[in-house]
Amino acid sequence: MSLRRPRVLVSVVGFSLLAGCSAGSSSEESSSATAAPSSGGGGAQGPSNDPISIGLVAEPASLDFTKNDGAAIPQAELGNIYETLVKQDQDGKIVPGLATRWTVSPDRKTYTFDLPANATFSTGAKVTGADVAYSIDQVKTKWTIGLKAKMDPVSAVDATSPTQVKVTLSKPSNSWLFDMTTRVGAIFPKSGGDLANKPVGSGPYTFTRWNRGDSIVLTRNDKYWGQKPHFKTVTLKYFKDPTALNNALLSGTIDVVSTLQAPEALSQFPTSKYQVIEGTTNGEVVLSMNNSRAPFTDKRVRQAVRYAIDHKGLIDTCWAGKGQQIGSMVPPTDPWYEDLTKVTPYDQAKAKSLLQQAGKVGATVRLRLPNLPYATACGPVVKSMLEQVGLKVKIDTLEFPAAWLTTVFKNADYDMSIIAHVEPRDLPTVFGDPTYYTRYNNPQLEPLLAAADQGSETDQVTNMKKAARLLADDAAADFLFLLPNLMVADKGITGLPKNAITEGFDLAALGRS
């Protein structure tokens, strides 16, 4: 429970940023074997003096993610300035990061991480076990953001040697290791420093300057212990207006558009000059149904909704055919993903008969949309499809974030809504807590989630698979589609992270062919 509460907050912050973008990207850096299939693993090209400029959407409010929420800070820093002991690769697997390897004790409560002997911070100081212990301790004692609760399972940290650290948990937790790939796992030098203005880490890039309202400039860390990146300087340029962002690429001001805001905009980039990279994100666009309110207290009505929606038609119309169908709250990059889109395939007749059985033909439901592009575009499609099977749908829009958060998210004063949940591995958050806005209360789910968190990796996969299937079978919600990660870049740029599934935008793997 202690883990879940803060995540509620986090996921809100997460998708508020999604209003602008689904920030985040890979933190994979040196092992080109797992680099995006569309790229050649740029880091392998070796260092050069070239600069690169990347267009992003949300500018950070501060450089200190220990005290400020928002996805833009780790997007710029994680994996670039700061490193984590373990990280997530492009396929969603947890792989070694700053730690060269790690072991888990048989009772799954003690993790031992080995550090490389040659790793240094950009100040020149060696990265030692003491720095790791300090960093974990800081999360528990000094961090102020809600995410710090992710470190709650840790009961003790011992730097057993300069190159080894032992972390003891109060109870087994698979999600803790995953969380170590996110910003809470960032390793800081124990000497401390001015995090908000001069971030110092062990990553392949160092912070150079921040032109507020415009850009952040990073320079290659030539003392980096791992494989050195190709580009000498990286400028992260921020654009509030998506049109300005796209124009900047067209005019050559930037080399990469990190996230395309509207899929329709793709048509303005001629394929002779630009490459389009289409990958996945963690952003499940959920058509939520208030499980505590009639008519959605009736499983048959919820199922009818799932049968009534032609997901392919929906993606084709309101998101220009970009995005992937998912049948449950799991993106394909999670190890427990399986195709659940066939659980309730598009079948208008079935939907009608289910509604008839439930006696809810002609029932009126209120679809309360946040005024976000994907929601206002897909809302009318959902309405039209539901009305074809005999439900009446009333749409109203609520200003996002303030009005939507209060009305739908906090007070659950809604029948249906559409929102993208962009937090990674957020199935337990969204459906495991009966007080969450979905109001989903199924006693069968809790034991599965607990077993998944505390068991071995295999147990985790088996149980999460069961949980995801349970949500689909029970029609806890409908999952419209997975937001695509649409990136446009100059043709020569390689190593771009295809899937935006991690918090950091990995710059080290970039190259130019």
């Binding site: 032609d310 392919k312 038609g313 119309t317 206002t376 499609v381 039209s384 074809q388 200003e399």
Partner: protein, 277 residues
Amino acid sequence: MRRRSGTLVIGGSLVAMVILAALVSFVWTPHDPGLVVPQDRLAGPSGKHWLGADKLGRDELSRLMVGARTTLLVGIVSVGVAALIGVPLGLVAAMTWRWLGEILMRVSDFVLAFPAVLLAIMLTAIYGSGVVIAMIAIGISTIPAFARVVRSGALQVMSTEYVVAARAAGRRPVGIGLRHVLPNVTSLIIVQASVSFAIAILAEAALSFLGLGAPPDVPSWGRMLQESQSLLQQAPRLAIVPGVAIALAVLGFNLLGDGLRDLLDPRLQQRRVEVQR
């Protein structure tokens, strides 16, 4: 004389077209304006879809017709609100104490300084978006226009001999206002209403374009423009259709206003008589 009535006829017929489209949409549209047909996405004009289909595969003509309803509704209600409040205010400002009139006019200057869109954004932030809020916001920001026109008209009427006579005869101000002043400023109100109507159409389109007006499932010309924005290169037709509709409706109401003013303004009538003599 002939030239003037030309304005009136053109304006009147454009307005009549909008009204007709809205009325017909109650009984018949080529398709259900909300019906999403994925296969028809961005379909060009054809026998099935006379004006093509939008990005959700909805029939453009049906949406245009139903959108005329939203446009007219917003126009009627906002102009109604403005007239209902603005006209009495103008009369009061003209007929009561001088200082009260001055205060009312300064307040109306203040309201005039607030663009309708800004007011609507403010109201939306507080009460949520919707057609009703848009109508109220547009209405409120049009109040000063009515108050000013009515006041200046009423001031003129107040100095006429028959009003002076009525006052000398001891008629109460309310009676004078209703019997003598109001009928004489009616033509001004009608002209102002048709001009305000044009402004209201534009304001509604602007608000819906910004996502502050009609909800996504209610067809509205402004929203149709907004939805076509990202498709300008692929299907410019989707922006042209509602754009032309808005332009014609605004033009229609403006011409109608001009024509009515020429027809109803007593001074112009007088001049006409002089010319004829």
